[in-house]
Symmetry: C2
Subunit: 418 residues, 2 copies
Amino acid sequence: MDLTARVEAKARAAREAASSLAVASTRAKNDALHQMARGLEEKAAAILDANRLDLDRAKSAGLTGAFVDRLTLTDARIESTAEGLRQVAALPDPVGEIVEGWRRPSGLQISRVRAPLGVVGFIYESRPNVTADAAGLCIKSGNAVILRGGSEAIESNTTIAHLLAKAVEKAGLSPEVIQYVDSADRGAVMAMLTLDRYIDLIIPRGGEEFVRLVAERATVPVLKHDKGLCHVYVDEGADVDMALAVTLNAKTHRVSVCNAMETLLVHAAIAPVFLPLAATRLQEAGVELRGDERTREVFGEARPATEADWAEEYLAPILAVRVVDDLDAAVAHIRRFGTNHTDVIVTESLASAREFLRRVNSSTVGVNCSTAFSDGYRLGLGAEIGISTSKLHAFGPMGLEELTTRKFVLEGEGQLRE
Amino acid sequence: MDLTARVEAKARAAREAASSLAVASTRAKNDALHQMARGLEEKAAAILDANRLDLDRAKSAGLTGAFVDRLTLTDARIESTAEGLRQVAALPDPVGEIVEGWRRPSGLQISRVRAPLGVVGFIYESRPNVTADAAGLCIKSGNAVILRGGSEAIESNTTIAHLLAKAVEKAGLSPEVIQYVDSADRGAVMAMLTLDRYIDLIIPRGGEEFVRLVAERATVPVLKHDKGLCHVYVDEGADVDMALAVTLNAKTHRVSVCNAMETLLVHAAIAPVFLPLAATRLQEAGVELRGDERTREVFGEARPATEADWAEEYLAPILAVRVVDDLDAAVAHIRRFGTNHTDVIVTESLASAREFLRRVNSSTVGVNCSTAFSDGYRLGLGAEIGISTSKLHAFGPMGLEELTTRKFVLEGEGQLRE
């Protein structure tokens, strides 16, 4: 069987198994999640053996540093993945939730009820723990899943996927609801993208270029997680201590993640007081500053920023800084250079707060808090599948709810259309 | 300027105008809708003149019948379109609705607030009244719109779009929020499909093949309205009178629409009583029957159905009929041949009703009512933009809400991520 046919066979098997999973009870799905957690723990040695093969291959290929770290499993990482599955079991089941309902003049009762999407395709890179995380979220939301991790983690992933399917079977569900595409060939990914007969949604995780390629090629709907070019705007009259704390936290909590601040905008009236303090603290924290002319007037040590800096997602200890005349200019800057991800204002003014929250059309807008809260767990969604930067279906951090759709349920006593 | 550049210029103008429309007050948007209605009425003569040019061209080209009927405007049709705009003004504004909210342990307040998508592209066929309908729904939901109607209606559409933009301006909003792509060239449509920098959503209306082409070519997200292959399943022990009434209504209310029943499934135990009665009534109503063998055993006049009939959306006075052994078989048939549109069970059994509603994964599932209720107005959405048969973003009849997204709003007092 050629590669495309093999991928298609897996997708078809997932689609067939999805219908019974869609109506499985919450208890059965939670049992499966607990069996999955137990399976990971019981087979930890086998997983670590498989992982060692992947690591040896990666090292022979000269890979190092952060890449190898992401690829590495340990007893502690396996334990924390198992714990993650138990936490998903403890979350409320989104399936069957009656979102809203009403009665029509004819007596027809309408309700909108959450239902699974069907089959979800997850395409991700080299962190093998994502295999269990993604499978767990799909099982809980009643969706069959087709997983395809980075080829560098293939031994770890196939071992994990195999034991997860066994665990699901122990709980009385079909093992076919978890499919793993175990070809290292990129053609396998391409084959998934056009299987819209069998797959309802594809979630790609990975670099910007990879996500764009998936979105371009796919006929299956894609939820894409693009760049996060996040801003903090320090308004005239902001509390300087709060502004300093938010600025430091938004930039330095973790510089490599999408919700980290990349550009700091400062109202001209507060710049002479705030900027030298902020710049010193940021430099002490190891952050390189790139400022526009007005920034450099009050803090000469900053390197000059160019237009390109406003559009750059550094994901590194570098910060672009711009002094703006007012809130209008800050909003205009964010609209022009932002990526609809997360933008925050620090202000004491109720009018400025309301204006900013209303006019900035990002998926997460905040007042007087760090951009780092833009995360499914921190927001209280209980899980995070990704952060959508496009507005359709989901916008911003996505939880289990985003793996469902809503159907209309009509209950009547023989109502006819006139 | 070449065609692509002209379309792009319109999209860019829409994008620029969208930001102020997104924060316009409900009152301003409603004023605009009333001005639009007044504009249509005041300029009815000019619209009818333009429409006459389109009709003359269509007739010279030998077009007739239903096509010419859809293209034809009359004083009454213009009046009813104007009335439609006033009804949209009377609907609640979806923008700014706080869908849900909660407080985190840190005191950070989270809310999810409805916001416009930004710019919506509407591509439709030859009914010129859609121009005003679509523009009205977009304005109300705070979205700029790029309209592109069928080339046969170009005179009517450009006249209408022009006066609508003027009306919007009278209400103090930017006329650029309504753009009309006035090229008869199909390349204009193709140009729209990849302008994802400026357009947030494309809604295509038209034939199956056209919609599929749009979905394939577009890099902009598309909400597609596919086939409606709707089923009624008459369960064992159903109330025969109710089953007859629902069957007749679902088939004959309007045969040419997507929510009309195309296949009737009948439980074997009720078939000898129900089917001859239903068949006679359907034939009296001019419906041609195509039955499987078991159907023909109790009603010999039916033509034999082939496998192809189960997959056919007739949109005509033809009905496929199949006798099934039980609810399981009915659900299996619907899952195999249905299009996730609308499926209904007629039953007196609570267990059957619950089972059917849970297991049939269509966008609208009903018990004891006609399939013809699957319609935004009949369901009480107040408007209908289309009926989505894919599960992402929207599933089933779409109202104003489906032209919005939800953003996270965070309100704090200096909260930092630990």
